[in-house]
């Protein structure tokens, strides 16, 4: 009985976990490449959801097209913000940098509020509402689709990063900017790739989960902090760690909700964040501490 309940929670956790993993990945990208903790990550996520709403519900475009357009637009926004603000700020004190991303987050959330209004939007179901029952476990089909697409995106991203020449160049730039430049890596392109893909991945997370969530302009901060917690769990700045941390957090959250308390669910997430920061700041996967912080 217990094991089947537990496995049920784990399975439910995987779907939301895959979304956290996407956001955590966004965080880790800017941290590892440029040591920037980008606090507007949850807002890119929120914009992703609203992008899907606009393209799919309001403009009537097919869902796949909505995905592509939204991702590209949000990625472009991420790059634009980079050029306007962070290029000038990222050599300054980390406090300024952090505050500027926080300022971006506030501006984006409220900009979205002006466009889409303060009320919650309900996205139509696009995935099938079938529920599979396998040996006492219930698995909604849409959860499977969400996890499937999220994992697909992450695999694709990993292939790009680890199997292609440009991915290699960007990884090199993340480790040693000056030398990468000597090798011929265009740093401006590498930086824009980091900011663009970071924002784009967050947006994909948002539009994938739009069908099972009420979307308001103010959902950003909670996903920022959860994505960040996931990134910290796996080791901030690590690609694989972010993905691991995302799934872990999703599962933990489900178990906590089920067995402890749903009221204090978020409080426990924050507690985990603080505890991991204090006890194992390099994340659960890493053996060494990251000195770079």
């Amino acid at each position: 009985m217990i094991t089947s309940l537990l496995s049920q929670q784990i399975i439910s956790g995987i779907a939301i976990g895959s979304i956290y993993a996407l956001i955590a990945l966004s965080f880790s990208l800017t941290v590892r490449a440029l040591n920037v903790i980008h606090f507007a990550q949850g807002e890119f996520f929120m914009l992703g959801a609203f992008g899907a709403i606009s393209c799919y519900m309001l403009l009537g475009l097919p869902f796949w097209l909505a995905i592509i357009i939204t991702t590209l637009v949000v990625a472009a926004l991420g790059i634009a913000l980079q050029w306007v603000f962070y290029n000038k700020l990222w050599k300054s004190h980390h406090v300024f940098l952090l505050m500027s991303t926080q300022g971006t987050a506030i501006a984006l959330a409220n900009g979205a509020m002006l466009i889409w209004g303060p009320d919650a939007w309900r996205f139509p179901k696009i995935f099938s509402e079938n529920v599979y029952k396998i040996g006492g476990l219930t698995i909604p089909e849409e959860m499977l689709w969400i996890s499937f697409f999220a994992i697909l995106i992450m695999i694709g991203f990993n292939i790009f990063l680890y199997q292609t020449k440009y991915g290699m160049g960007f990884r090199a730039a993340a480790q040693d900017r000056e030398t990468a430049q000597l090798m011929g890596v265009n740093l401006a392109v590498a930086d824009s790739f980091v900011f663009g893909s970071s924002a784009g991945l967050g947006a994909i997370g948002g539009l994938l989960i739009a069908p099972i969530l009420f979307i308001t302009p103010y959902i950003g901060p909670i996903f920022t902090i959860k994505g960040f917690t996931a990134a910290i769990l796996g080791g901030l700045g690590s690609i694989q760690g972010a993905i691991f941390g995302g799934f872990l957090l999703g599962i933990i959250e489900n178990i906590v909700t089920f067995w402890i308390s749903s009221t204090y669910k978020d409080a426990i997430v924050f507690l985990i964040l603080i505890l991991v920061l204090l006890i194992k700041p390099s994340g659960l996967l890493q053996k060494k501490t990251i000195e770079k912080v």
């Binding site: 603000f85 700020l89 980390h94 406090v95 952090l98 300022g103 409220n110 204090y264 204090l278 912080v293």
Partner: protein, 326 residues
Amino acid sequence: MKKNISLAILAIVLLVLPLLFQSRYTQHILNMILIYVMLGISVNLIFGYIGALTLGQAAFFGIGAYTAAIISTKLGLSFLPCVLCSAVMGCLAGFIIGIPTLRLKGPYFAIATIGLNNIICIIFLNWEHLTGGAVGISGIPYASILGLQFDTERKVYFLLLVSVFLIFLLYRNMISSHYGKVMIAVRDNELAASAMGIDTAKVKVIVLAISTTIAAIAGAYYAHITNYVAPDAFPVMESITFLIIIVLGGAGFKYGPIYGAVVVVILNEYLQYFEQFNMLIYGVLIMILLLFLPSGIAGIVEIAKAKYYEKKKIYYLKEVGIDEMK
């Protein structure tokens, strides 16, 4: 001599100010400025002088407010004991939270404080029999000292003015003392400071505790002025507002909190007219400030002063932080 005259003028202006404005609304704004000066001082100590970016100061503000609210409504204690209890709670909370978290470097501390602020808010919201849940606690009596009731905005103004003055004196003495130099040393180069024999961890925790004590005292005043506390008054966003006060006013400058509080409170009131654009403008403002005015209003004032003295060919000792501007 000249300094004394200008101080006297300032004192007269501050005392006459509420009499000039008859409307209750304007007087309310004056009071909010004073509360925010306290909070600004609190944030400036830990952020401006220690360099620890806190995004959770509203939690301590809330702890102070709730402590005062609970003690005055449930135990019926009067104003001063309430402020004292709030201060003690704020100080304790500062120590308990500071000792583990201040080990975290840079942005990691900021993130821990965000988590903390959220946890405290969730507790305010859900510990219903103590905090009243989402409804909050109402019916907090007006502040009264020795039978004197502070039940109008104008009376509150003088109470706040005296309190802010006392806190400001304490704060000014602290930062101009030897300990203030130690704090700046810790902020500018922690490694070098510890190599000089400074127990940097201790300095940071003590300053945080002082800063959270001041925030909690501000909370107690807030509870007694508004007669009502609810969990939605202390979100992370409020912590960010405190930070904006300091960045705008000038982090690490003595008068930074004052400039910042005046501008932010007035700006806030004007932005009310733009309702929906309010926060958008806020966000953009932060970015522009950081880009073009990283040392805030106090920085501009210092530069202006430096130029003025330079013209008069008087050697001007640059104040802390001015060298960052160039």
